[in-house]
Symmetry: C2
Subunit: 169 residues, 2 copies
């Protein structure tokens, strides 16, 4: 078994206590290029899409995760909270907050599962259903905006590659 669980990588400060390093700044001699790394590219691309999303949804005022939850609930009819989390790739702590905010807006409602007293079942309210329908149209437009730099062949290729990368294929 592993000995220590986790150790903070705190480095003790250098010898001279107070003064800032006086001379030329320290440089990292390396051919590392942030902009070419997969992590940075994924982050930037996702960041741009989220920006498009929030702009495109406008008065509907849904975040990507809120929309995903709403759409998934509508697709399944009724789901438990943790199952919904797994199907939208959110951990229990995250989905919990999302659910709370959707409930506060009367978009979903919950009842306890009669066959499992631990679980709560989620379903759309009429308002949630109506909002989801409107949102789907907008979300399609958002996807077009995000994908605008790519042609049809590139879009298909990208989707396939990302499915492989995320373990969905």
């Amino acid at each position: 078994m592993k000995s220590t669980a986790r150790r903070l990588a705190v480095a003790k400060p250098p010898a001279q206590p107070a003064a800032l390093s006086a001379g030329a700044p320290l440089r990292l001699e390396s051919d590392y290029v942030l902009e070419q790394h997969i992590g940075h590219l994924l982050r930037r691309s996702h960041q741009r899409h989220v920006a498009n999303f929030e702009k495109g949804l406008g008065v509907l005022d849904l975040t990507p995760t809120q929309f995903a939850a709403l759409a998934k609930i509508g697709e399944r009819g009724e789901v438990s909270q943790n199952l919904l989390g797994r199907q939208t790739a959110m951990d229990p702590a995250t989905i919990q907050g999302v659910i709370q905010r959707l409930m506060a807006r009367n978009l979903i409602e919950r009842r306890s599962d009669p066959s499992d007293r631990r679980a709560t079942l989620l379903r759309l309210t009429p308002a949630g259903l109506a909002l989801a329908k409107n949102a789907i149209v907008k979300v399609e437009e958002v996807s077009q905006t995000t994908l605008a730099p790519l042609d049809a062949r590139e879009r298909a290729a990208l989707a396939l590659l990302l499915q492989k990368l995320s373990g969905l294929a």
Copy 2:
């Protein structure tokens, strides 16, 4: 000029006040498939990479953004905070928190720009430089882990597509 700045999309609850909808759950009749949408794929892929990152960095205990800031500072020698933010795709509010945490760990230090009293210049401490060097090695390994599902040709294609998508190409 626009009339109202922003309106909350709150829907008034349906006629019956208290009771949950009794019958069958409302369903969203739609062929919308979350798993095929670019936003979800980007989110999942990024999510998987971040998980690899945090696992792979181990005791170095750097988040992707903290590493990006550290690497960029080391590359430039000395940068102002906002410029660093632009080069790592973080807005001023976000980079501010990252800088605070790196400073609290003695990895970077700041001085006010003598030629612009608004700006603060950031540079690596010796500890920060050492940590960054170690981190770069680990980060390369993380990238390999993330990209493991793809062969060389697919990796190159993905990088190109994401560069286009994020506006870096």
